[in-house]
Symmetry: C2
């Protein structure tokens, strides 16, 4: 089983910053994150992960806003840890492949092979306005660009063969020009000559993670991803998603085991059930409903006034087809509200914990059971652990849930490798030498 710690300022519950224990400016505090990473490493987590978007979500009143750029933050954390993987989100819509491929390869070098990239297309019209655009490119267009972006990145990472560096002092020849070749990529979105200005990195490529669950998102994941983050509310939905993605990968000729699926879970943990429920209640009561309703209205593309607190969602919401932003998250929220017949106020409570991810409230044993049951029912290869409060929620998970998973033989008790790919049991991409040899064999 694989565990990734999804870290975010004072925690995933939107009111976590208001708890007495929380450092409300943790979002810019590198020491806060270093401490979290060391805790996760003590718990033998495969990796830590930061989400990202190149835009400020508009309301800074509501909760800690603004965040350190993830490749910078993870590099700062690399120096304070030794084994744990470091996964940064970066957008293919608002970056250039040359610069980004170079940056991830650099993180892989300085972390000795611990870099991962959560490849996202960035939903929402606002980010576009920071990049010379009046509106975001259409959903399908963003995914088309993402696929070509990845193709370019793979070519750049393979533009140096592993043995290109000769470093022959005697003859004065440093590198083998034949083993460092331009990529001459010409496509619909990109023309990139290459080669990359950096020797091949320890992992060859960073671990490729994907996190969009629309049809196009699943298509991208099936083709390129090695790990997938996803939000799933029920066991049945998670099983269906799992089976779907694995069979898509197989249909493309991939080993389905090479694609690890990690649903998110927000574990609200107490030493007794009622203690856990009390923590959940304390957090939910700190949510400011007006703020949360604004956010919900933005996701649903309606006005806040269209969402009276004590009524169910309006009947006439758009179809997923009409959504150009985050398609799968939209559908998940609407489905959740309709299935459980929630009022807006109840829905806000449910989303406050994990923005659509599954929340689970209980004792360490109950949390371990919840994790084990999904894992054994072919709903997950592991989990994206999203503590509602940080650091305490991660400390509790590490000290109280991880030992149970270990005792049950479900989770490692020691790291067996050194790179992020080692932790996930994924191979190092062979690079151009190998594929050329294969091609001529």
């Amino acid at each position: 089983m694989h565990l990734n710690a999804f870290l975010m300022s004072t925690g995933h519950h939107e009111a976590s910053w208001r708890l007495p224990e929380s450092n409300p400016v943790a979002n810019t505090d590198v020491e806060h994150y270093r401490e979290l990473a060391r805790t996760a490493e003590r718990g033998k987590f495969d990796s830590i992960f930061f989400a990202d978007s190149p835009v400020l979500f508009s309301d800074v009143g509501r909760r800690p806003a603004g965040s350190l750029e993830p490749t910078v933050l993870l590099t700062a954390i690399a120096a304070a840890t030794e084994r744990i993987g470091l996964i940064a989100t970066a957008s293919t819509t608002y970056n250039d492949p040359y610069n980004l491929a170079r940056r991830f390869a650099s993180v892989d070098h300085v972390s000795a092979g611990r870099a991962g990239w959560n490849v996202v297309t960035t939903a929402g019209p606002d980010a576009a306005k920071n990049f010379n655009l009046a509106d975001q490119p259409a959903h399908a267009e963003r995914y088309d660009r993402a696929a070509e972006f990845l193709e370019v990145a793979f070519k750049l990472w393979d533009s140096w063969q592993d043995d290109a560096t000769l470093a022959d002092k005697e003859s004065g020849v440093w590198g083998d020009n034949d083993k460092v070749q331009p990529i001459e990529h010409v496509g619909r979105h990109f023309q990139v000559r290459g080669p990359l200005n950096l020797p091949r990195s320890p992992q060859g490529y960073p671990l490729i993670v994907q996190a969009g669950s629309s049809e196009d998102g699943k298509g991208l994941a099936a083709r390129y991803a090695e790990a997938v983050f996803t939000a799933q509310q029920t066991l049945e939905d998670a099983q269906a998603f799992y089976a779907d993605l694995k069979s898509r990968a197989a249909a493309l000729g991939r080993d389905p085991d090479g694609l690890k699926i990690l649903p998110g879970i927000v574990p609200v943990i107490g030493s007794t059930e009622s203690e856990a429920q009390a923590l959940e209640r304390e957090l939910d009561e700190l949510i400011k409903p007006e703020y949360a309703r604004q956010q919900l209205a933005r996701t649903l593309r309606v006005q806040p006034e269209d969402l009276p607190f004590d009524q169910p969602l309006p009947a006439d919401l758009p179809d997923e087809d009409e959504i150009e932003g985050a398609k799968s998250r939209y559908t998940l929220i609407v489905t959740l509200a309709r299935r459980e017949n929630l009022t807006v106020r109840q829905l806000i409570g449910r989303l406050g914990g994990g923005r659509g991810h599954r929340t689970f409230t209980g004792t360490p044993d109950q949390v371990a059971d919840a994790i084990q049951s999904w894992f054994e029912a072919d709903a997950a290869d592991g989990f994206n652990i999203m503590p509602p409060v940080l650091p305490s929620g991660l400390v509790t998970f590490t000290d109280q849930v991880v030992p149970i998973l270990q005792a049950r033989g479900l989770f490692r008790t020691e790291y067996t490798g050194t790179t992020l790919r080692d932790h996930y049991g994924l191979p190092r991409p062979a690079g151009r030498t190998a594929s050329l040899q294969e091609a001529t064999a």
Copy 2:
């Protein structure tokens, strides 16, 4: 006096990697750079600095090629140092202002106020081909974009007022929406809405450094730069450059003292003069002239065959006006060759040490004298120290030249502040609150 350590793999001499003492793969070795930074910090240098270009210089045979992306590398170094400033080069031609402003602000946060940005426009046709372009934008166009890029970056860094974060747990209000405002920039090159997705950083802005010396380059520096790196071969040229830039800054209403000028110097140091000369000879003899001639031909926009080794440069080279790449470096090289009537072979020797920067060979006392004389003759506010061999050249400078400069009262014996701006004696930009108050006062 200010000292910046310009670090580059095994050193600035192009054959340095061939010395027995050199680690020829230092270019990707983060520990090599951490050790160098700690040495420079021991020597109380103001800062360390990395050059950069988003392209691989074509011949990997010649010398260590490829380098870690500087903001990543400097972040990795930040964790191993406490005081020294960290200056990364980044191109305004091949980046987006939103992402880059965010990244530098992030480095400033994680380093507690030690970030600097060497703003360059990136000369040469090759980089363009990695970014969807057939050729580089014209020289004037690149500088026009650079100026607007900086304007956008300044607005983004000021888009959060220093006191925008309230973190009021009681009332549940995290930030003051009035103090975090869009920038709504609409210009010739960029439309950027803002605000930045990161609270204002410790220094407000990173230190702004500039390194192009053409007319347009000097214009940009006079308006925006706080420090300038420059290559100057003679005292007279350096004095003229210094006077010119200071008076341009004054003409724009700036305090000329707010613009620090740092010519480069490549100190080849020996405990006796003849030891120093022996080191210089040893290095020069390791240069492979065919490789170096290729590089020279590229800079001069001629074919290698047009440059017979034992003849002077051809008479009919283009004017600086016709050069769309690195104008000032082109002129410097041609002027040097003509002034001293050098053959191609001799010119290659002179450039091998510092690519156009002044080399100075001598004892620690002689190096200190050379530095002091320029400093006292209004040719420099400090120096860009470019050791020919690393780490040894930096260790020697730190242990043998710095103490002389300190004993003469020219250089600090302790850091007096904590930020990069503190070291250079430059103020923290006031930000939007102050300028609004000024505007309404």
